[in-house]
């Protein structure tokens, strides 16, 4: 970034000096103020740009570089391997099943999470009394960190002492091995994740609902529209930009999930919950194979980008911008 600054500030001196002699004074000062504005603008951008350069752009390039090499456990390059890291990933069934697990996890958490938050946001929006109280309750999971939430749910899911199995038993049903049964583990983590993300989705959707002018509702009511009709004809279209944003953000979020899996199941049982980021973590920071870890990270980047592009191309068409 310092280079950019230099390149920018050097011509400032030179041109302003030469321009001053050639042009009338007024034009020269105008030009000088424009150059000054340029330099100032980059000074305003400099802190962000510098940080992005060091902690985002450089690492991105380096991830690509690492993914084409093998490394020793300390992270030093051991040799060039070309696309071996990538082809190894695809030939090992573990990685492919990990992708499937991640996709399934996204399908289990994203639609359910958005739908629940939407229902709750619409219902609280129409409330006359106690609105703040309900808003507080439904936003609450947002401030519970993944660390605390996971430990709480670990005990709720506990096979013998947990509250969930106790309630199942009270209802006359057989207990479930929430986190220890390979058929249930991903679903259990999804339930917990839906709960955890509810706060964020709810706040975003409530915030979007507040942006819809009351007059539109009033005139719809005067025209005799029932609540369902109002929902489909007014709330949904006007809320669709927010819904779209929530969809994009939660899909990305689902592909980035890590904390709850690390604490609750550590990818098990039988790799049934080994999602994308967990396997990056495992490969890089437990097995210390930074090369294959980076290859996975690059693939994660591509998958997320692809999904986001698809959403912008196909879903955004249905979004109604005012």
């Amino acid at each position: 970034m310092s280079e950019l600054d230099k390149r920018l500030s050097l011509p400032v001196e030179r041109t302003s000096a030469s321009v001053r002699s050639a042009l009338p004074l007024r034009a020269a000062s105008l030009k000088r103020s424009r150059l000054k504005e340029n330099a100032l603008a980059y000074a305003f951008l400099a802190p962000s740009l510098l940080l992005f350069a060091v902690f985002l752009f450089y690492p991105l390039v380096k991830s690509v570089y690492l993914s084409l090499h093998s490394t020793d456990p300390a992270g030093r390059i051991a040799g060039f391997t070309g696309f071996d890291n990538y082809s190894d990933l695809f030939t090992s069934g573990l990685f492919v099943s990990g992708i499937k697990t991640t996709a399934l996890f996204a399908l289990l958490t994203v639609p359910a999470g958005i739908l629940l938050a939407l229902i709750l946001a619409v219902l609280t929006h129409n409330m006359l009394r106690g609105k703040r109280l309900f808003q507080f309750a439904f936003s609450l999971p947002m401030v519970i960190s993944v660390g605390s939430a996971s430990v709480i749910w670990k005990f709720l899911f506990h096979p013998t002492l947990g509250m969930l199995n106790y309630l199942l038993e009270q209802a006359g049903m057989a207990p479930v091995g929430w986190l220890i049964d390979p058929h249930w583990a991903l679903l259990s983590i999804s339930i917990m994740t839906v709960w955890m993300n509810l706060g964020f989705n709810y706040i975003l959707l409530s915030s979007g609902m507040q942006g819809i002018p009351d007059e539109i509702y009033e005139s719809a009511r005067i025209d005799g529209a029932g609540p369902l009709r109002v929902f489909y004809r007014i709330t949904m279209p006007l809320l669709s930009p927010t819904l779209f944003f929530v969809l994009v953000v939660s899909t990305i979020g689902a592909f980035q999930s890590f904390g709850q899996i690390n604490i609750l199941t550590q990818g098990g049982p039988m790799n049934s919950t080994s999602v994308f980021v967990y396997s990056i973590y495992q490969e890089s920071f437990i097995n210390f194979r930074f090369g294959t870890g980076s290859a996975q990270a690059i693939l994660l980047f591509l998958v997320i980008m692809l999904l986001t592009l698809i959403q912008f191309k196909w879903v955004e068409r249905k979004v109604h911008y005012q």
């Binding site: 940080l51 690492p59 991830s63 960190s145 507040q210 980021v277």
Partner: protein, 274 residues
């Protein structure tokens, strides 16, 4: 005057049930945190604590340096919050109020950073931080997160909404960009700054993977890592684990009480209006 109809009564009923379900895990941890060890691990589990066993809190403080965990987390979150407010508001001001060469390119560069999931840069960042000897330091925990493209966008949108005439008038009075930014723009943008502050604080407060990677020693751990370590250490005394969780949750609950309005008001506005 609107009347209280049967439909509304039903919706209140549904909402109350939903609220109980959503709140239950949190209430449950509060209950667990005041149970005795035998009560917490008894079967059948008790729905309510039979007695208020507040000694758990003291015991947790004795067992792990939970005060320093919380202190670390608050310090780190505050640093990141202030850093993001400074970098994002500066960059947002340049994008909203200044004309400069390469503005379009710079803007798309910022937009591109939002496309990159943080996990993709995690390995090289870890190696960078390690080579700088920043493992187990506050620099390592905070500096990689001091800039935010999301926050920059949010503030830019807000800055753009402020009337242009204001700047024209200030310029007439001989006010330059720096002074206008510091003394006019920032005070006017308090709602947007507040939203970003709450959002970035919460984000850092709740982050898990990065602190897990770059902290090794107990005194440097953040509360999130501390909590999960607590669970691994003392798997039998769940009441103590939950006492720790309660202590970890309380500060962020307070933050929600004070920040909820900011969040509800500002989140969608910043993220969406283009």
């Amino acid at each position: 005057m609107k009347k209280f109809t049967a439909g509304q009564a039903l919706s209140y009923l549904v909402m109350t049930a939903a609220a109980v379900l959503v709140l239950y895990p949190v209430v449950y941890s509060f209950f667990m945190s005041v149970m005795t060890q035998s009560e917490a691990s008894a079967y059948p589990p008790s729905l309510f604590p039979h007695a208020l066993h507040l000694a758990n809190m003291k015991e947790v403080f004795r067992m792990v340096p939970i005060a320093s965990f919380i202190g670390n987390t608050f310090f780190v979150s505050a640093v990141v919050m202030i850093g993001q407010l400074v970098t994002a508001s500066c960059a947002a001001y340049a994008f909203a109020n200044m004309e400069f060469k390469g503005k379009g390119l710079m803007f798309s560069l910022f937009a591109a950073t939002m496309m990159v999931p943080w996990e993709v840069t995690m390995i090289p960042n870890y190696l960078t931080v390690r080579s700088l000897n920043w493992l187990d330091t506050y620099q390592g925990l905070t500096i990689p997160f001091l800039a935010t493209a999301f926050g920059t966008f949010m503030l830019r949108q807000f800055f753009l909404q402020l009337p242009k005439e204001l700047f024209e008038a200030a310029k007439m009075d001989g006010c330059g960009h720096v002074r206008y930014f510091l003394f006019h723009m920032l005070p006017l943008s308090r709602p947007a700054l507040g939203t970003l502050a709450v959002y970035s604080f919460l984000n850092m407060y709740n982050s898990y993977l990065w602190p897990l990677l770059v902290t090794n020693s107990k005194p440097m751990r953040t509360i999130q890592i501390g909590i999960s370590m607590l669970e691994f250490q003392e798997s039998t005394s769940w009441n103590l684990v939950f006492a720790g969780i309660t202590l970890a949750i309380l500060p962020s609950l307070l933050l929600l009480v004070f920040g909820l309005k900011q969040l509800v008001r500002g989140m969608a506005a910043g993220a969406l209006k283009g």
